[in-house]
Symmetry: C2
């Protein structure tokens, strides 16, 4: 498949210009662009440039706020409650994670929750910020309902991701960034477009029954929690999705569960709840980085079941993707994505458009 | 099946007497007995009286310490590192959780990790302690290696449980208490004894291939992380098992991964790592308990896929079990368990033995 190779700097600048064109403050546009570029660079294309038009529309329609900054509503040595003031998710997320890191420097841990937030891109972005300070970072968000709890048949939880990043030595790190659903909605959509069936344990039909037909999952059914059926431990994934909701919507006093607006429907403000944590390993046993690297080495070093598929540590697939991009000198995008975003840019009067003169085959 | 009904007080007193008989301090014996009784009362029989002989042997052999108390090694407003001094797990766990709660009262959150600990019973016990203070409680422990990471074929992670408890209103609560493996080892053992096959996605054989034969899982294979195969998201369960290890062995400087002694082999001290967290909802948005109850009501109130199996919130199965026990006036034990424990008691000179004159059929 041939793709257009675009440098990170070009994507960054393009997203910033588009967002500013519809009235976003330049430093807010920069925050959003950074998260989207990082999503693509790490290989999570469902959370990158691909979603820019959603943010553009949110600002254009006024359903997401252009003006103001997040505000700390309540604070203690190690905690804070932040009102995101309905600003772009990355603006709220960066503000909260910076605050969590500051608190962790003083109190050993910072646990910051936000209400009044919006989609914040990849959860991993915020957890990764802590690595720069040699801290453990965590980030959680609730999302629009797409997941059917074990035994149920309606979507009452989001894909509610968990991200945890922990620094090893010499720049190595553990970076978990996962939805608490078995898979992302995008994977089911992809199988549907290709006419393929999906593995049992990804989603269910409108009766709450596991289905291998992506159409049934997408039309009236839903994703299921990690673990799949009750027999294979799906109730654990359901419990983890609820845990994320406790940390986000419930602690923050934001929307939660099926009170959150429907995915892709922007009839009202999102008022998402999010949670950001930084933990300073200096407050615990000496030698954290060495042990962390050793833990990952134990896993990576074991003989794999299939010699072609080595055992990985969380974050390794993303590292491989980033390396590949860096060697190519940019991020490879499907031409349809580039055309779609350029059409969006033209409509709002932005130029120059994304270049598509460098084609690579993947 | 007929079972012996024994009151909670009788089990509590019996375990205390057995532990004291081998030299445990009375207040340490009490802590252990409480956790074991609670395990059985909640229906987690694999973590109750059933395991008392293991603790008796650990104290008898001296592989677990009788004397001393846990010591705080490092401390900040919201964090602490505790040396468990190789004492019984529940002694270490209660000490750490009490400290976490104290810190959460002052700093909004307490994050306490322990090294030098031992098996601590059900993870939920410690999370539940926070509910008494209307706080969120969390508890994590690493354990002996029993889980094969995705793509691997050796056990390099424990079943590394996660417990999170959060208070609703009127005494209701969300209580997640789950291993990060698809199932507990005991479930595989039970199927093996019955000659039944196991569902695909519980364990793998010695080549790292998913197997439905419990013998293969138990002999050279291992449990697999929640999610099962890589295609159905097993790498997420693997990542969560690693996350627990980061919070426990890595932060605490305890043993970790496949450095932890083999399950049921006590050739050296366990030196387990554990993590205890308390979060004070008062430091966040007002109305936590109401939202928490509403979140659970949304799930419980939805029409279930099968009318005979209502949608539950984490903690509901345990509540049902406790109610059943309380109505019967005790905990129903299999006669083999009672006989085995009475034999253990006779050997160490403890009397009176557990009564078995009240038989109930289940």
């Amino acid at each position: 498949m041939s793709r257009c190779l675009i440098t990170k700097a070009e994507v960054q600048s393009f997203v910033e210009r588009c967002m500013v064109a519809v009235g976003t403050k330049p430093h807010h546009a920069r925050s959003l662009a950074e998260v989207l570029v990082e999503g693509d660079h790490r290989g999570h294309y469902s959370h990158g440039l691909n979603r820019m038009d959603m943010y553009v529309k949110d600002i254009e329609s006024g359903i997401c706020a252009k003006d103001g900054e997040p505000v700390v509503e309540k604070e203690s040595a190690a905690t804070a409650l932040v009102d995101g003031k309905n600003l772009l998710g990355p603006v709220v997320g960066n503000f909260c994670m910076d605050l969590a890191i500051k608190k962790a420097k003083e109190a050993g841990i910072g646990w910051v929750v936000a209400r009044g937030s919006n989609h914040y891109g990849i959860a991993g972005h915020y957890a990764l910020l802590a690595l720069k300070e040699n801290m453990i970072g965590m980030s959680f968000t609730n999302t629009s309902p797409l997941v059917v709890p074990t035994r149920g048949k309606q979507c009452t939880l989001g894909t509610n991701p968990i991200s945890v990043a922990a620094p090893g030595k010499d720049g190595d790190s553990f970076v978990l960034d996962m939805a608490t659903s078995a898979v992302a909605l995008g994977k089911v959509e992809l199988h549907d477009r290709r006419g393929d069936s999906i593995p049992e344990g990804w989603g269910c039909d409108t009766h709450g029954k596991l289905s291998t037909d992506p159409k049934k999952v997408l039309n009236g059914g839903g994703l299921v929690p990690i673990g799949g059926s009750e027999a294979t431990g799906g109730y654990k994934g359901y419990g983890l999705g609820m845990m994320v909701e406790v940390f986000c919507g419930i602690l923050a006093g934001a929307q939660y569960s099926n009170n959150i607006r429907t995915w892709k429907v922007t009839d009202r403000v999102a008022n998402l709840g999010q949670c950001f944590v930084a933990i300073n390993p200096d407050n615990f046993a000496h030698g954290f980085n060495e042990r962390m690297s050793d833990l990952m080495s134990i896993q990576r070093g074991m003989e794999p079941a299939d010699p072609d598929f080595p055992v990985l540590a969380a974050g390794d697939p993303e590292r491989t993707n980033m390396k590949k991009c860096d060697e190519m000198g940019g991020i490879p995008y499907h031409i349809n994505v580039v055309n779609y975003m350029n059409d969006c840019a033209k409509r709002i009067g932005v130029s120059p458009l994304l270049p598509c003169d460098k084609v690579v085959s993947e």
